[in-house]
């Protein structure tokens, strides 16, 4: 295992120390609970936004704490959802009297831990908590009888957009409705060129031949829906964009926020090659790109690969996207 770490068991704790040292102008950290807070939380009268999940997806979620985005992020162990105590602590800490929204990616572990936290918070403190669960991954078939779709790239866009709405002082119900709307308008799909290595496991989660790739992966180093021969950027772009566009569906005349995301080990040079292909496909389909985001924002440790997310965006969503944000991971207008 080749990683810039000390003991595998200490990775999350030490990364949080480094994160705090680097960004103490904007965040503070409760190291016992492994919660990253916006420095000036709680903001009186503002809906508190909390997210969290396993570590290994950086900059998500900790890198999205700050003005115009999250009030707190709970960091779990690598690829392991955080525990209810963390969300409980965060909920109490960020409540500014306007209630708290939990932003949860749809994984059994995340959903159950956030559920327990919401139950405990309700019983314990009376803070009003609503939850939104993101489930945008078209690689997974949605069904009542399964765990449903995974929450992936839309989560990043949602945290930005909903963060801007909360910053404007909208009510908890408004913010939660907006969050659901964003989730409903977004779809994603990802692929991997390589596996990744969970530090505690010490070896790659799966083996992939020199001429193979995985299509339909999530963000936990898990294998995808299909193993395929290595393909060109152009072919891969189609494999990702076509199922997304067909699913919602998106069509002629639609306007989107287009997001090409790196999985952690893929350099920016390649992401721009991919974005070039994605932009061409969208143009051919008559879909306008209102805004774009290219970079590694929701990652799977050092996995090489990428994902594409499209979010159908009306004027309201675009203007919330454009609103100022000041976090370690996303920053503009501030």
């Amino acid at each position: 295992m080749k990683k810039l770490i000390n003991a595998p068991a200490d990775v999350v704790q030490e990364a949080l120390l480094g994160f705090e040292a680097a960004h103490s102008d904007r965040v503070r950290i409760d190291h016992d609970n492994k919660v990253i807070y916006r420095k000036d939380a709680p903001k009186q009268g503002k809906v508190g936004l909390i997210s969290g999940g396993g570590s290994g997806h950086e900059p998500m979620h900790g890198g999205f704490v700050g003005m115009g985005m999250l009030d707190a992020a709970c960091a779990g162990e690598v690829f392991t959802s955080p525990v209810p105590d963390q969300m409980m602590a965060a909920t109490k800490e960020v409540d500014g009297g306007a209630g708290v929204l939990h932003i949860v990616k749809n994984y059994t572990g995340d959903v159950m831990n956030f559920e327990m936290a919401a139950e405990m918070a309700a019983a314990d403190s009376g803070i009003e908590v609503l939850s939104v669960v993101t489930d945008d991954d078209v690689a997974v078939q949605d069904s009542l009888y399964t765990a449903g779709r995974r929450g992936v790239g839309v989560t990043v866009l949602l945290e930005k957009i909903v963060g801007a709405a909360a910053e404007q002082g909208r009510s908890l119900n408004d913010v939660a409705d907006l969050a659901k709307r964003v989730n409903d308008l977004g779809r994603s799909m990802g692929m991997a060129l390589t596996s990744c290595t969970v530090p505690a496991a010490g070896k790659p989660t799966f083996e992939l031949g020199e001429n193979e790739m995985e299509l339909g992966i999530g963000i936990h180093g898990e294998p995808g829906r299909k193993r395929l021969p290595l393909a060109s950027a152009k072919e891969i772009a189609s494999m990702l964009v076509d199922p997304i566009v067909g699913d919602l569906p998106y069509g002629q005349g639609d306007s989107v926020i287009a997001f090409v995301n790196g999985m952690g080990g893929t350099p920016l040079l390649e992401l721009y090659v991919m974005y070039n292909e994605v932009a061409q496909l969208l143009e051919k389909a008559g879909i306008t790109v209102a805004r774009s985001l290219v970079g590694s924002y929701i990652t799977s440790l050092e996995m090489a690969g990428c994902s594409v997310t499209l979010l159908k965006a009306d004027d309201e969503l675009v203007s919330l996207w454009d609103a100022p944000v000041n976090t370690p991971g996303l920053r503009w207008g501030a």
């Binding site: 831990n113 765990a147 180093g221």
Partner: protein, 212 residues
């Protein structure tokens, strides 16, 4: 032949948990390997982290009642494991505790009822059915086997439960997952044994070993 054990004490429950912790620790890499194939390569380290915390809690406190013991175990697991297994194992022990409220020496039927309450907690939280390729596939048959043998005492009933759990665990291999992270793999999840069913089988095997 040993005596027929008819009642279980709080101390014996402590021994069960320590034995389970040791088994988990020894098999953490194997559990993580199973989770690598159809999940995210953390089930072994999750359970090991949680059971180490449980052992630390056992070391720190003398528990008077099974109730108090299992509540502490459940809360500890909820607070330290995370992922899917944290709430599921945590709920199991919390319900086990509630079910044994008041009792200090537990009879075989009482233990059976408590185990069933625990598993019902898992089902309530996770909504999995038998055949979904989860820990429920090991736990459900174990409960039935326990009940069928409950007249022969705790040791025998737990032995039967452990055996049924192992069979349930093995039955997960050909299944296509419908719940948990393995469900994302679709058809590709078939051919792999479920990690959670494997660890819950260890839970019952530890019980059979420690409570006899």
């Amino acid at each position: 032949m040993g005596d027929v054990v008819t009642v279980v004490t709080v101390d014996a429950f402590g021994a069960w948990l320590r034995q389970f912790a040791a088994t988990i620790h020894d098999n953490a890499a194997m559990l993580t390997d199973l989770d690598s194939a159809i999940g995210d390569a953390d089930h072994g380290s999750n359970m090991d982290r949680g059971m180490k915390a449980v052992v630390a809690a056992l070391d720190a406190t003398e528990f008077e009642t099974a109730d108090a013991l299992f509540k502490k175990v459940g809360m500890t697991l909820v607070s330290t494991v995370g992922g899917a297994s944290g709430p599921l194992y945590g709920t199991f022990f919390l319900r086990l505790g509630s079910s044994l409220q008041g009792a200090d020496e537990i009879s075989a039927p009482e233990l059976g009822a408590a185990l069933r309450a625990g598993v019902q907690g898992i089902v309530a939280r996770g909504k999995a059915e038998v055949g979904d390729k989860t820990m429920v596939d090991a736990l459900m048959p174990a409960l039935d086997a326990y009940d069928a043998a409950v007249g022969e005492g705790v040791a025998t009933a737990l032995g039967a439960a452990a055996k049924a759990a192992a069979e349930g665990r093995d039955s997960t291999t050909p299944l296509v997952a419908r719940k948990g992270r393995a469900s994302y793999l679709g058809e590709r999840s078939a051919g792999h044994q479920d990690p959670g069913a494997t660890s819950t089988t260890m839970l019952l095997e530890s019980a059979a070993a420690a409570l006899s």
